[in-house]
């Protein structure tokens, strides 16, 4: 009975592993405009958190950059709440043109010791046709 249970558990784990591999390969996105993207939240002195992004296009784009940024705050790095929202319509430096967009976009004045993460929407296209993808950063702790 014990051996049967062990074999059952191992078999279930193997099936689960194979299923996860299939899920990884299925969750891919393709784009004629967007090549790669990433964002980050970096703590600097005084509790400030700098949101940055690197967005590259498939060749020169009329519009490339970030359309929307949400900043989240947490005391325990577990439960987060939204504390800020930035739109490129309000902050023009969030969007540019060309093949590469690489900038420190916004600085949020947080509380030292608290944790912050950002949800960033990266974009490449011509404003009418394009690709927008979300990138959620890892959380970082603000420093004094």
């Amino acid at each position: 009975m014990k051996h049967f249970i062990k074999r059952l558990i191992c078999g279930t784990l193997v099936i689960t592993l194979i299923s996860c591999l299939v899920c990884v390969s299925a969750s891919t996105f393709s784009s004629l405009y967007l090549n790669s993207y990433r964002a980050s939240v970096t703590p600097v002195s005084g509790g400030r958190m700098v949101v940055s992004a690197d967005v590259t296009g498939r060749g020169p784009q009329e519009q490339i950059g970030v359309t929307l940024i949400y900043i989240y705050e947490s005391k325990d790095d577990v439960d987060f709440r939204q504390v800020a929202r930035y739109s490129y319509s309000d902050y023009p430096n969030m969007m540019s043109s060309g093949t590469v967009y690489s900038k420190d976009i916004v600085t949020y004045y947080g509380t030292p010791g608290y944790y912050y993460m950002a949800s960033v929407y990266c974009y490449a296209g011509d404003g009418t046709n394009g690709t927008e993808r979300n990138y959620t950063t890892v959380s970082r702790q603000a420093i004094s």
């Binding site: 590259t56 420190d104 890892v138």
Partner: protein, 302 residues
């Protein structure tokens, strides 16, 4: 079945008279013993009667008279017997001395070893599943994570390509600079490890080389162009916290290993891409080129 006759020693009844052992011509104990054994071999066990039992008693009495017991203790004899033939018994008696073979008593069933191996394998699978779930939860590209992990391991081996690091920063934070060549930009940041391709498809012309210094770190990129075709190379200092995510279609992911580094090859709607990790620099090449050209570009770096 024979009629039962009472033994002459019981209740005065007279039983059949057997030859007295003293009448037996053989008085040697060994011969008497052999005779007893021969007689026993000739007797049918199904027909063994009281008369036969009486006869046996008589023969044993004669044997006792010919070779009396020299005082052997049965218990001691049994103990000696068990000592001699201990491996034949499943459990040794309490009075046995500790002289049994340890090999016979210490073997463990092989099925327990198999169970342990399965448990170890299951634990390894659980750890791998946990790593995959963690990377996905942080919106990481799983293969990107593996590429970084394995390249760090390869960097520690002998004869591998030097570990690429930013040694100096000639820019102010938030500043972006322009360079004449990719090698000049890499040199400006003190990177000595091989990063710059020495071969580019002839049809492409260098458009620009730039570098930015953000709060997170350095980002270097070089753009090439051929009419509507593009070729882009980027080097990002980071990436431990927030690695890049590449767009790709369902094409199979290949790996091109060069100088101990895994260069991951993928495609996205006729656009070839490659990414790898060298030290704390995340490197990418993307463009309207063939996979053979991509491999040739990568090989020219080292």
């Amino acid at each position: 079945m024979s009629e039962f006759h009472n033994h002459p020693d019981t209740n005065g009844n007279v039983g059949p008279i057997h030859r007295h052992p003293e009448d037996d011509p053989s008085t040697d104990a060994g011969q008497l013993a052999d005779g007893i054994l021969d007689w026993l071999g000739s007797v049918d066990p199904a027909d063994f009667s009281q008369a036969d039992l009486d006869k046996l008693d008589g023969m044993l009495a004669g044997l006792e008279a010919a070779g009396p017991d020299e005082g052997t203790d049965p218990k001691e004899a049994l103990a000696e017997f068990h000592r001699k033939y201990a491996p034949l018994f499943e459990e040794a008696p309490a009075e046995l001395p500790a002289q049994t073979s340890p090999d016979i008593l210490s073997k463990k069933p092989s099925r327990f070893r198999l169970g342990r191996r399965i448990a170890v394998l299951a634990a390894a699978v659980v750890v791998l599943l946990g790593c995959m779930a963690t990377t996905q939860a942080f919106s990481l590209s799983f293969f990107d994570f593996i590429g970084r992990w394995t390249s760090e391991i390869f960097q520690t081996q002998k004869d591998d390509v030097p570990y690429a690091t930013i040694q100096k920063v000639p820019l102010a934070e938030g500043e972006t600079a322009v360079y004449d060549s990719l090698q000049e930009a890499v040199d400006a940041f003190g990177v000595t490890a091989p990063l710059v391709p020495q071969w580019i498809p002839e049809r492409f012309i260098l458009e620009s080389v730039s570098a930015s210094f953000k709060a997170e770190g350095i980002f270097i990129w070089a753009e090439y162009k051929n009419n509507d075709e593009f070729l882009l190379m980027t080097y990002s200092e980071t990436a431990t916290y927030n690695p890049s995510t590449l767009e790709k279609d369902g094409a199979i992911l290949d790996v091109h290993k060069k100088s101990g580094i895994n260069h991951y090859l993928l495609s996205d709607i006729e656009c070839e891409k490659s990414f790898w990790q060298n030290g704390n620099l995340e490197c990418q090449i993307s463009g309207d080129i063939s996979q053979d050209e991509m491999i040739k570009i990568i090989d020219s770096i080292y």
